[in-house]
Assembly symmetry: C2
Homo-oligomer: 189 residues x 2
């Protein structure tokens, strides 16, 4: 089986290829997809997959990720990338200055389009708290996002890939492929 | 001439009808349009007009507005509405705490689709500085956005509508309609 990973981020495609190993052949296609605004990452991933399938007409996957901070009413939400590039981690820490509730979570939705264009969405989520930056690995919000005593930037890649939101979604997709495309509970759009 | 204003905000449609008076008949259609992510409001308004025209097939206008703060790398940009509903004006002020450069601007693009679906974009922009909240009129960021010594929330509606980003874009659209659809300098997509 061949699956095209549609993303502008080659590292992400590499991570996914690693994840699937010999099970599926992963090809990377970089493609400009309109970025739909919607509060739900699942809806956004679904729309992206529709768009990419209309152009490519082959089995493919796309993802969308949100980062939500409870005391900021879910901000930055689906705009995690934009906020990182404008405010950065320092901006997030400034917004939380003096705020007690530090709860936050990452959520990823991976939309998979079959050869026939049928689209399924698989989700993953990881909960943690916002802390002062620690650690050198990972990227983005990893240094300020702590899970069970360590920030994501303090984990090495295999550790992070065992618990991350993206790994969870990929694991559900993998189980679904291995099961011969039978339904996996709770994985509706 | 009849023009449909496509917006989920009835106040906006009313403002536009006021603006055009007897020149054109304004009808309000509330329609859910996918919110495209893009750094340029002109591109977003253009895409919205394309989408709305495909559904309605009549002369129409849609707008998109951004609010950009210089020292925050343009944040919140096209996500002004989302940021207002999550961080609010207090969040913006917190981010600017201790920051000297308070420059900011509003930018609106109005995309007009002709009866044949030809789309033109008209823009308006107003520059100001971010200050502690003052004034009771207007909405959104108006109380913290100061232009020539007064915040937008300290202006009454006719005053605001004489200088605002939206009024500027509407004035260019009006001039273009009155000129018999001749080009207005500098108003390309």
């Amino acid at each position: 089986m061949k699956i095209v990973v549609v993303t502008s981020n080659p590292n992400k495609a590499g991570e996914i290829a690693d994840y699937f190993g010999a099970l599926v052949e992963i090809m990377h296609v970089s493609m400009e997809i309109p970025e739909y605004r919607h509060p739900d990452v699942g809806e956004i991933a679904y729309k992206k997959a529709e768009y990419a399938y209309a152009a490519l007409r082959c089995p493919l996957m796309v993802d969308d990720t949100a980062f939500s901070i409870e005391s900021l009413n879910g901000f930055p939400g689906p705009y995690a990338g934009y906020v990182l590039s404008t405010l950065g981690n320092n901006g997030i820490l400034k917004l939380l200055d003096g705020v007690k509730n530090r709860n936050a979570f990452f959520e990823t939705a991976i939309a998979f389009a079959s050869a026939e264009g049928k689209i399924r969405v698989f989700r993953g989520r990881i909960d943690g708290i916002i802390v002062s930056p620690r650690g050198d690995s990972g990227f983005g919000y990893d240094p300020i996002f702590e899970v069970e005593g360590r920030t994501l930037a303090e984990l090495d890649r295999p550790e992070k890939n065992r618990i991350s939101h993206r790994a969870q979604a990929l694991s559900l997709l993998k189980a679904w492929i291995l099961s011969g495309n039978k339904a996996v509970p709770g994985q509706n759009r």
